[in-house]
Symmetry: C2
Subunit: 299 residues, 2 copies
């Protein structure tokens, strides 16, 4: 278990400017900062992609959440796009020269996929696994998903601090506020702040436990023609079925002429981000994960 004290936590939203859930919440926290104050650490708030929020777009020039690799941040010639410039500003805010770095980033996102409440921890550090375990204990419907890349190679904003997570809630359209996802996100932010506070106070009682986690395997694109035009859409039987088992032979896509395209894999997988609006341009129809039980041992 990580034993140092957490000094600074950042609650961040608007990395994607049309994901309103987190943006609305961060504005609420900025108006009522006492909501996210805890006695043992400082909590900052940050709206990340200011121009994209103003324009109600995911981004202006490029996806901000792919601009945070160590290599890109240290490349002082990489300033042509608004997002590359803003990434450097954000990195300087979270790792200031005259104050301690931010230790924990809580990065708020939403998705058009039916992913309920999902946590993407920043890494598999024991502190982060303890956080996932704590959230799962508080809210059994929370799912924990591990991405592919961690650390300084990662281009994601969350990689600017060693601890914390991305919160994804859905399904909610871009540019829409849904009371349910607002409540879920706020609940999770408070639970994470409580976890950090309990950690700092030495009040965490960790018991050995099993944590269900989903590990990203790969992404799957839509069937396309030579010109890149979609030839099929998500099969109705798969739509909204995030985290449900997808077995070899199960329906995956439906072509314009009504033919079913089945999953050709050899083992059962668990798709997430099914039909996420922002991922069409990334050539991602869904992301496949494998489901695992992680044994957490009390130290």
């Amino acid at each position: 278990m990580y034993s140092g004290l957490i000094q600074r936590v950042a609650v961040i939203a608007g990395v994607h400017g049309n994901e309103w859930t987190g943006i609305h919440l961060v504005k609420k926290f900025q108006q009522s900062p006492e909501l996210i104050e805890r006695s043992t650490f400082e909590t900052l708030t940050l709206l990340a992609n200011l121009k994209a929020i103003e324009a109600n777009l995911r981004y202006i020039d490029k996806d901000l959440n792919r601009c945070f690799s160590k290599q890109d941040l240290s490349n002082l010639e990489l300033v042509a796009s608004y997002e590359d410039r803003r990434a450097k500003e954000i990195a300087a805010l979270l790792r200031p020269s005259n104050q301690p770095n931010v230790d924990v980033i809580i990065d708020l996102h939403s998705t058009t996929a039916n992913m309920g409440m999902t946590i993407f921890p920043t890494s598999t550090e024991p502190f982060n696994l303890g956080m996932c375990d704590y959230l799962s204990a508080c809210y059994p419907e929370v799912r924990v998903c591990f991405g592919e890349r961690y650390g300084q190679e990662s281009p994601l904003l969350r990689s600017l601090a060693p601890y914390g997570c991305v919160i994804e809630v859905g399904s909610v359209p871009q540019g829409v506020l849904n009371a349910r996802q607002l409540q879920q996100t706020e609940m999770l932010v408070h639970a994470i702040l409580n976890y950090v506070d309990a950690h700092n106070q030495g009040n965490l009682r960790l018991t050995s436990s099993n944590l269900t986690v989903y590990h990203v395997l790969c992404s799957v694109d839509y069937p396309r023609d030579a010109a890149g035009e979609l030839q099929a859409v998500i099969h109705p039987q798969l739509q909204f079925q995030d985290y449900k088992p997808l077995n070899p032979g199960d329906p995956m896509f439906l072509t314009s002429t009504g033919e079913m395209i089945s999953f050709q894999g050899k083992t059962t997988v668990f798709p997430v981000f099914i039909n996420e609006a922002a991922y069409y341009e990334k050539h991602i129809a869904m992301i496949l994960t494998e489901k695992q039980q992680l044994e957490l041992k009390a130290v």
Copy 2:
């Protein structure tokens, strides 16, 4: 009953460039035009806001579907915005000088509101009411909704022809293809083409019937502060409840601090377009309608 023959029908999509359902379908029809051919009339297809479709935005400069009033179309100095120019091009395409005008417009839209399959007929002309009756008989789940303005005062694209309708399907996020709404829209397009064909062939057997219709009363904005920032969101009990009765005192909004704001009207209404993404900027949280029975008499 309108007795003239229909010569030309236009199936139009992409009036809003991020409403993918209709756009995908019109591209399909353009690749396989035999799908929408009928023996008694010509069927055209049109993608309306080309630049917005390319950019995956609702519009570039302004909402194209507010640019079709007779006054604006005839104002040759109104050409500053892309949409004002494109509206004039579209009007010229649908009312060409060297060919018959388009008689019927089928204008395909989608919404983030849970409106299922909704038809907004172009007017209350008997031909259009007969079409609504025909669609309701084919698909009892179809709802018929009447707007506020008709004829040459209307700024809507559908007002360019005397007959036809807007098809709204939802809930589906902007920039997302959902197989279910694709199937529903395609089904309705075919049914309308069949209705026109049967009309032209004199094969329509109209019997007296009662048609349930929803008449638009007014719109309701979100509660906002002096700066225009949202102070409340759609109440969870109202979210996705389009076409369900909203009674005086029923929950309508939920404030950031958790207070319920109730409906202050004096009679029961039937809200539609609840939490439509594109309507936040129009200051519309929902549109209230009244439910009526319309008696259609066979002539």
